[in-house]
Amino acid sequence: MKKLILSVLLLNLLAACGSNPPKEEAMEPATTSAAEMSNAEAEAQAAADAQAAADAQAAAEAEAAMLEKNSVYFPFDVDAVQDADRETIVNHAEYLASHPDAKVRIEGNADERGSSEYNLGLGQRRANNTKRALVLGGASDAQIETISYGEEKPRCSEHNEACWAQNRRADITYSAK
């Protein structure tokens, strides 16, 4: 079952890699509503310039924003990367592929429903599977270190599902050069 989920994700990943996912889709510059101006041509030119500048800035911001989303989440006692996190994986895999000098550390975590040692193993598995997904997406093995904190560093410490869901995750963090 776990392996099936993973392989479905990998298929999706491969498909995503082939089709170069559009990165600009969310970028609607906020300064294009000057509809009352009388000189239509000047208006169009100004709008185009603004658009180009905004696009460049937006692309840089988008890349930063994409990489800022650096956690993937897991259901209870599951270690397969979920389809819901496909975009996060694709973004980081592509970034790593295009920046061969970049290095990441993946920290696996678990909720507290298990022994601390079992959870350490589960967190490691989550980190390892996240790494596999990144490598399949184009990152290289040598760019990625995996470790586990198990249940030792909970983001949230109450005994409820809302909390546990936050703690069942793997964090992808870039090493400072």
Binding site: D77, S115, S116, Q124, H159
Partner: protein, 417 residues
């Protein structure tokens, strides 16, 4: 670095007093009525001793303390059994001050039913070792009256987490006299005692991932014994102290390995594509119990230390974690997780029956006292981790609530040789 070391040493030498509230529930099937008479000699020391012996005995649930009601014999000849109706044994003694701040404590345990002396001993120690003397006396009283050695002189280890600081703590079995062996801003896990009680192996994240260290309690020197890529964890000593079993993820999955106690001569024991963890040696050193999810959910399995075939032990609904053999090797204790709560449970190898010992809650990481009569585990009160014990028959329960901090990962130490 040097300052950090110094801080650790200071923490070790200046023990913070653990302010513990101990709550006991339940009682043994039979409670032996015992009278403790305050010893002759230095009144302050005598009071201190009486408190420690009394608390130790009461906490087992196996004894009822009977007030001597003004009688204060210090010699067996002064005891008239007719004056002690309802009392089965009486402890008497005296304290003699010696040179260089030492004291000699003489004590005798009299069986009032058979009118016989059960023991007569002298312990010499420094005045500031009153606690140790008290625990020693309680051990001997317990042994004479129950037939099993007492464990009041043994020690426990646990991890305390308070305001982002982790401490590896060693304390007396009653939770008092705590001393920090290691203080760190990163997590500490899974303390494990060497069979001679002189070293502790543990997992520390101080180098930003789980690595296994072995540290001497006397010299405080420590050795990093496993720092393979990924996680290095779950150390446990073989009964002869020569080897350590631990869990490494260097070959991807968490698998069990055996090494010399310095980490050398590493040999892989389990081969699965599952999480195999929490190894625990059988008392004869020939096999290991461990937690594995190879069957789909975490359960307890057994494997020979030579590797080979693996036998599944538990078939519980829910999950089973953290197995530890009873010192007699005939049963093991584990943490059972079902319907959202943990219980401490015992599995009997002959009858293949599981007995739930506790009411349930956030109860994890059980370990036996070395006499097999009590189980120490991590529990919780109002969201804070605490130490708790339960007698191995499930009758007597005890919670030790510290004033602050979060206590985790307890492990009962061995008899001190």
């Amino acid at each position: 670095m040097r300052r950090w070391l110094l801080l650790c040493l200071m923490a070790f030498m200046v023990p913070a007093h653990a302010v513990l509230n101990i709550e006991i529930t339940g009682a043994g099937e039979h409670q032996t009525p015992v009278s403790l008479v305050r010893f002759a000699g230095d009144v302050a020391i005598a009071r201190g001793l009486l408190d420690i012996v009394g608390n130790d005995l009461v906490r087992t649930g196996l004894f009822k303390l009977v007030d001597p009601a003004g009688k204060s014999p210090h010699d067996p000849r002064d005891i008239r059994p007719s004056e002690w109706s309802g009392v089965e044994a009486v402890l008497i003694g005296s304290i003699e001050s010696l040179a260089e701040g030492k004291v000699a404590v003489k004590f005798r345990l009299i069986d009032l039913v058979r009118n016989a002396e059960l023991m007569s001993q002298v312990v010499t120690a420094k005045e500031d070792q009153v606690r140790a003397i008290g625990h020693r006396i309680a051990d001997l009283v317990y042994e004479r009256l129950t037939g099993s050695p007492g464990v009041f002189s043994t020690r426990i280890a646990y991890v305390s987490r308070d305001q982002g600081m982790y401490r590896l703590v060693v304390a007396d079995s009653d939770g008092d006299n705590e001393q920090a062996l290691l203080t760190s801003r990163e997590p500490i896990m899974s303390p494990a005692w060497s069979p001679d009680g002189r070293q502790i192996a543990y997992v520390s994240f101080e180098k930003r991932r789980a690595m296994v260290y072995v540290q001497s309690l006397t010299s405080r020197q420590r050795t990093l014994i496993a720092d393979f890529p990924g996680s290095n964890s779950a150390p446990t000593w073989s009964p002869d102290g020569a080897r350590i079993a631990m869990v490494l993820t260097r070959d991807d999955e968490s698998q069990i390995y055996l090494a010399d106690s310095n980490g050398g001569h590493l040999r892989r024991i389990t081969y699965s594509d599952a999480i195999d963890t929490e190894p625990s040696f059988s008392p004869d050193g020939k096999s290991l119990l461990f937690t594995s999810d190879r069957g789909g959910s975490p359960q307890i399995y057994r494997v020979s230390v030579d590797g080979g075939e693996v036998e599944r032990m538990t078939f519980e609904s829910g999950n089973a974690f953290s197995p530890r053999f009873h010192p007699d090797g005939k049963s093991f204790v584990f943490a059972h997780f079902s319907d959202g709560i943990f219980h401490i449970a015992v599995y009997d190898l002959d009858s293949r029956q599981t007995q739930i010992l506790t009411a349930g809650g956030w109860e994890k990481k059980p370990s036996y006292a070395p006499n097999g009569k009590m189980i120490l585990f991590a529990s919780e009160v109002q969201g804070r981790g605490i130490l708790a014990t339960v007698s191995s028959d499930g009758r007597v329960k005890q919670k030790m609530v510290a004033q602050r901090g979060d206590i985790r990962e307890p492990m009962w130490g061995p008899f001190l040789k």
